[in-house]
Symmetry: C2
Subunit: 354 residues, 2 copies
DNA sequence: CTGAAAGCGCTTACAG
DNA sequence: CTGAAAGCGCTTACAG
């Protein structure tokens, strides 16, 4: 078809080579309509200079008339930025991450930025893929939300793009980290259990050597020590930050006949699993054993029974990290303080029996 | 500072005007290193033509050496597409949406696309904001995942960008819809309850007039009819697709002294709420009342007791919608079939008492 | 205050 | 098969 035509008549003087034209409305069209140059139209749109009201109005009218929206790719190319923030987390369908991502999205949106989410699925290799992809796409900054990428790699990336990372302590140029007060949170949880008279308190941890888990374990031990109770290593069981780990922990403890009247779980999901396993074993929560979690996920309110937990507002953590990356991009050194952790007493904990 | 310099020496022959140069590695640098033109390098990268192995290797080496990644904005500008798919849902921190988004993300990622998620928060106005923003950003297509935007508006948007919408039936150019088999799913759920001997089965619905809720109600009624049981309007109670609605429904039913031995909830979250309210009222699940949900969210496995539900694999729904938008963009008419709904019997339902 | 021009980094129609 | 050139739609340093 193309060929045929060019035989008969010379090609319709398309006078150009590159790719075929797009059909959307462009700045140039708007400018022409308003009787100004593209430069001026651009400046008016970006409020980057003062122009006469007359021109401004004309341009605004033209914009409205055509329903013009600047092409983000072109703008990004020219500006060298994309108004997009990359966010790497582990999975979107985890209540923990879901809440955090919501906080990020909300804050970013009200600042004109959009988040580009990518999931690492708890694997360092995948996180690297995410980082690379995000950098290729020219995001203006990256939030690594509770990721497992090594500190060194993170620092290296921070030389190419501003980064904020949650869940660890790390100082480097172009990078800011924010960590919730895990240790203190754990102590708060333990104090609650201790106050209820519990002495045999199990701790269900997370992955081996995960920083959060370690910090919480440390809080667990301190609280025990402060109460004058000897630390019994038999009472700490590894988990995986998920329901499954909580279930296995209970089975392991009970199969080994290790007595306990309460469990402090490294996070809410672990606690959910623990509750189910306890149920399976015919134990009642909290009558037979008290269970406390960490995170206070929204769904904890609706568990049966509602779960007592240490609140760290994951959503707020997301919000703060978004604020931090924005400040970092703006060239400021972020000055953000996370809200303190807080005990939320519900119905999964009670005074120890007898 | 700028000024000073240009007094002494003529500005370092920057020979250009526009914005300052970026510092990333560009195609041109790679091409030079490999001893070819940018055109050739581009073609090799995009496998858009055959070149000699020699050149290919040279270019690949250069890419590796510089760790070159094509600039997405530039590519997007040149190509007129962004390899980005907009996804509007209601909230990222909902287990339902979380699961769907995960499905979308996964499928898109393996096709080289990235999802740009935006949340409408159950408000049409916000959904419109999302659509506009997404279109400005030049996404190649949009997936509206269970949104509430009107059909007409959706059709209008479909003229500017390919759209796939889940949760409703709608035909239009540039648009494809996919709907799970709500009616049949509801019948499956009801049949299960009926088989267990239940006769007084409550139905907790969603928002007034929500299509999904309506379809499920219709299935509820059909199953009742098929079993020769008269429909009792007192047994259907409105909800909100969330836990709160499920709780209120139980209270409403019990306060009005309307007897029932089982509840069919419009979705799992509603069922969670119902279970909690039942617990509060001193009723045991399933001994006193059986509860069945719809969606089979991942967390339903870990409820106490584990929830019986109708599985529709929200993740798969996400996956299919991603596949559909990709096909639509490629100019094909998507030919996707959703997996059938499926009953998952767990421990929240049992034979009616006595 | 305003416009013409150059440039952002890529792709591809054209012409060897 | 390969390169020079034009173009994608915007922004901004330069020059009025």
């Amino acid at each position: 078809m193309k060929k045929q035509k060019s035989k008969a008549i010379p090609p319709p003087v398309r006078g150009k080579r590159g790719p075929r034209p797009r059909n959307s409305v462009t700045l140039k069209m708007v400018a022409r309509e308003a009787g100004v140059s593209a430069s001026t139209a651009s400046r008016i749109i970006n409020r980057t200079v003062n122009v006469s009201d007359e021109l401004r109005l004309a341009v605004e009218a033209a914009i409205a008339k055509f329903n013009f929206r600047p092409n983000a790719a072109a703008r990004g190319l020219a500006l060298g930025k994309t108004l997009t923030i990359g966010v790497v987390s582990q999975a979107m369908d985890s209540p923990f991450y879901g809440e955090g991502l919501r906080g990020i999205e909300h804050r970013l949106q009200q600042r004109g930025y959009a988040p580009l989410f990518m999931s690492g699925n708890w694997q360092e290799k995948e996180e690297i893929r995410c980082m690379e992809e995000l950098i290729n796409r020219g995001v203006d900054g990256i939030i690594m939300f509770a990721g497992c990428l090594g500190d060194a790699a993170l620092k290296a990336y921070a030389r190419k793009v501003p980064i904020v990372v949650t869940g660890r302590l790390l100082r480097a140029k172009g990078l800011v980290s924010m960590q919730v007060d895990d240790r203190n949170g754990a102590m708060v949880a333990m104090r609650h259990l201790l106050d209820l008279g519990h002495r045999r308190i199990a701790f269900v941890s997370g992955f081996e050597n995960h920083p959060d888990a370690n910090e919480r374990l440390s809080g667990y031990r301190s609280a025990l020590a402060a109460a004058g109770i000897a630390f019994d290593p038999q009472l700490v069981v590894p988990g995986d930050f998920h329901e499954e780990g909580g279930m296995q922990a209970v089975y392991q403890l009970m199969d080994a006949n290790i007595p306990f009247t309460a469990m402090f779980c490294v996070n809410d999901q672990t606690a959910y699993g623990a509750c189910l396993a306890l149920f399976r074993k015919g134990m009642r929560v909290p009558d037979d054993v008290s269970v406390i979690g960490f995170d206070d996920l929204p769904s904890s309110t609706y568990r049966v029974p509602p779960l007592t937990s240490v609140r760290q507002s994951v959503q707020q953590l997301g919000d703060c990290s978004a604020e931090a990356i924005l400040q970092l991009i703006a060239g400021r050194r972020p000055q953000i303080t996370l809200p303190p952790v807080e005990l939320v007493v519900r119905e999964s904990t009670s005074r120890v029996a007898r």
